[in-house]
């Protein structure tokens, strides 16, 4: 499957028809998805009908927008009107969305193909997509391994060449980690850059929707199509002219003189040696481009996961209270005798164990007697984490780290909840601080398993990390 950039040019030059692109997407899904299980639903009829219209538009010689005729798969945490939206959970397996999420509304306006809904860890809780109520997704590079999570289906759909782009959501690393495991690019925008209206909420102060693509330039294309102030999301921010994505500037890839900070705390002993080696190769390649590399320290790194596993469950315990068997979803109304039993039994029937764990953890840290020691302490630590990044960005333009401590692990390997939480060790800090961050594929390891490196940007400076990512993409394609 070609990149967005290439397909758009093909449409403009009339060397490819939208129906041909859709045929390729759908036949790849038919060929591979029985094994990979990236998709929970595919909107075949809708995209065929839309393809016919776009073919006719091309025949009339009308110009195509940058995302027009581009197939995009959508994480099933994002509402798509009149279609099943499950958040990977049994409790919503019969739920049909009654409106489109704002990002979907935007993509439809841009003329993109909404290809289907992808598999995910239940309510975005997990780092492997094994917590899906609808069986796991497999890593296209090695189907005995996980694709990462929670946006595993979206990452896999792009890695398996089913579509050039996918949307995921990232609360603690759920776009970047699966991107790293699947060898694709995954961007978590600055908090507030993309509207969360229509995203099934996990932790409202941390969640962000973002793109999976094969390249950094393509990520810029998608970001431009979905970002911006939305009256339905009070936390969304107007993108000022200085902060606009400039695709031409990204394509030029002029990175000489930019300063990249490398934080010592992210290169500790727990990293798989090949991951460290491949990330160091990236740093060396940037040096060849006359990028200045600076050693920096982010002291609060060790507290990022503990702070995250206080703040996120606290918000989860509140956000998931709505799944009570009353207005929608799985309900025990028939069998329950009291109102309270409708709540407790519906939730017992509909939620998986990880969801219950996190709701109870959040309930605990917010409860009387524990609030100060945990939640208030975590929130204060969060302020310090943010300050760490702000201080670093006085000296550097971007920060570079490994995305994950190791490559994709085999399905079933991580049965202990805590060991799964530690998968996010390099990704959570920026969710707490709000900074944008992107995982870019480094060279794969000796057995061709993907490895990702992470570029962290200053607030609303996606432009710099996209440009650096593109410079790397270009260097790699020159080598091959």
């Amino acid at each position: 499957m070609d990149t967005i950039h290439k397909i758009h040019r093909q449409y403009t030059e009339k060397t490819r028809r939208p129906s041909e692109v859709i045929d390729e997407a759908l036949s790849t899904i038919k060929e591979k998805d029985e094994t990979i299980n990236a998709f929970l639903s595919v909107f075949e009829d809708q995209v065929y009908a839309q393809a016919k219209e776009l073919d006719a538009k091309q025949d009339r010689g009308e110009a195509f927008g940058p995302l027009e005729g581009i197939p995009v798969s959508i994480k099933d945490a994002i509402l798509t009107k009149d279609e099943r939206t499950t958040a990977g959970s049994k409790i919503l397996q019969t739920y049909t969305a009654v409106y489109d999420a704002s990002v979907i509304h935007n993509l439809r306006n841009e003329g993109a193909f909404i290809l289907g809904k992808t598999n995910m860890d239940e309510f975005a809780m997990g780092s492997s997509t094994e917590n899906s109520a609808f069986s796991p997704t497999r890593n296209p590079h090695d189907t005995s391994r996980v694709p990462g999570g929670s946006s595993g289906g979206s990452a896999a759909s792009v890695a398996a060449e089913m579509c050039p782009a996918a949307l995921g959501s990232d609360t603690g690393g759920s776009i970047r980690q699966p991107a790293a495991f699947c060898g694709v690019t995954g961007l978590k925008p600055t908090y507030g850059r993309v509207s969360r209206s229509g995203l099934i909420a996990m932790a409202s102060s941390l969640d962000q929707i973002g793109p999976f693509t094969k390249t950094s330039l393509d990520a810029g294309y998608v970001l431009k199509g979905i970002e911006g102030k939305d009256t339905l999301d009070a936390t969304s921010v107007h993108i000022s002219s200085q902060r606009q994505i400039d695709l031409d500037e990204i394509e030029r890839g002029d990175v000489a003189g930019l300063r990249i900070g490398v934080p010592q705390e992210y290169f500790t002993e727990g990293i798989q040696p090949e991951v460290k080696q491949k990330v160091e190769e990236v740093i060396e390649e940037f040096t060849n481009m006359n990028v200045i590399i600076k050693d920096i320290s982010l002291e609060t790194t060790q507290f990022a996961i503990p702070a995250y596993y206080v703040i996120m469950p606290a918000e989860v315990s509140s956000n998931l209270a709505r799944y009570d068997g009353i207005r929608y979803g799985v309900s025990s109304f028939e069998n329950a005798s009291t109102l309270h039993e409708v709540y407790t039994q519906s939730r017992a029937q509909g939620f998986g164990p990880e969801v219950m764990r996190r709701i109870m953890l959040g309930t605990y840290v917010l409860s009387g007697g524990y609030y100060d020691a945990y939640y208030a302490q975590a929130r204060t630590t969060q302020t310090k984490i943010r300050k760490d990044f702000d201080t670093a960005f006085e000296e550097v333009d971007a920060i570079l780290t490994p995305t994950t401590p190791h490559q994709a692990f085999p399905l079933g390997e991580k049965s202990d909840p805590l060991s799964m939480y530690l998968e996010d060790i390099f990704t959570v800090a920026v969710n707490l601080s709000g900074n944008p961050a992107m995982s870019v594929p480094a060279n794969p390891d000796s057995s061709e398993l993907p490895i990702g490196f992470q570029l962290i940007g200053n607030h609303f400076d996606e432009q710099t990390i996209l440009t650096l990512g593109h410079a790397w993409d270009r260097a790699i394609s020159r080598q091959s």
Partner: protein, 94 residues
Amino acid sequence: MNAEEIQHLASLAAISIDNEQTAQFAEEFSSILDYVNTIKEAKTDGFNIPEYHTETLREDSPEQVFPDDIADSILEQTPARNDRYVQVKAVLKK
């Protein structure tokens, strides 16, 4: 964490869990809390929970964002319904 504490949390969270789940969660919670407890070691003097002062309230006027028939699609999803009312179990005892 013991079984009683887990049951208390489950009850606060309105989730009904059986004895086997209670025992499982108690064990998992203990190891998770051991790790999360390290947050207490973070030195946070001089730092406060941030306060934000941006005015983000909109005009208090109805915006036509959703179509008129949205009520129908919402009601279609309701597990228990009586005409156009969501039905619940008795709240007040006679």
